[in-house]
Subunit: 127 residues, 2 copies
Amino acid sequence: MVTKQFKGTAVDEADLRRADSLAREIFSDVANKWALLIIETLGERTLRFSELRNEVEGVSHKMLTQNLRMLERNGLVDRTVYPTVPPRVEYTLTVSGQGLRKTVDAMCEWTHRYFADIESSRRRFDG
Amino acid sequence: MVTKQFKGTAVDEADLRRADSLAREIFSDVANKWALLIIETLGERTLRFSELRNEVEGVSHKMLTQNLRMLERNGLVDRTVYPTVPPRVEYTLTVSGQGLRKTVDAMCEWTHRYFADIESSRRRFDG
DNA sequence: CAGCATCCCTCAAGATACTG
DNA sequence: CAGTATCTTGAGGGATGCTG
């Protein structure tokens, strides 16, 4: 996230600042619990809204909608509407979404790897 | 994050459920903007509270304290207090903290890699 | 300097209800 | 079924002041 400054070169620093603030904005969008859980749950599958609702433990209708819109806006998920009655809407990760998913997978692996450490650290801290 | 159920084996399902809910709790602690930015900022360095405050763009005194406590509790950062006047407190990532940092690095790389895609996707969506 | 406590307010998020 | 809109609440987070 740290942007090199290239001070004294021809690089326009205003551009760098814009890019940096945009990067932080993307990071803020993506670095939140629900977004990451949705990405992890989607994985390589295609799921309907209601299926996601069931699989993402504890997410409300509203939060799911909001986060899916945000992920769609950033081009991380594709949204396909089938104009049937009742409507059917399917979500799937895009290429960039899959890319992010790999990093979320790594976070999950990290959780399992240090699970015991974390648990004991908590006990030490709390006691 | 998905825990295999091993249905019909000797594995105690209650244990699995406890582990699963703990994993989700850890994930919720860690998967938030400030925690990840702090981890990324610390990197391989050792920083004082005030240095972190300056380097983590936009973080308030209170949020920084809260998140550092949380990270300390989970054993991701070490906190060293030098009993001088005025006091000096230094923070550094632990081994597990470094492990998580690698995944955050990957997220940052992802941001830069898909930066242009995301920007254009946003324009398409907003227009 | 770092941390804690207090106050206060905004906005995030749940509940509910209505539409295509 | 999926999405949007409205209302309401309370927790998140800022500002301030005090302490070791």
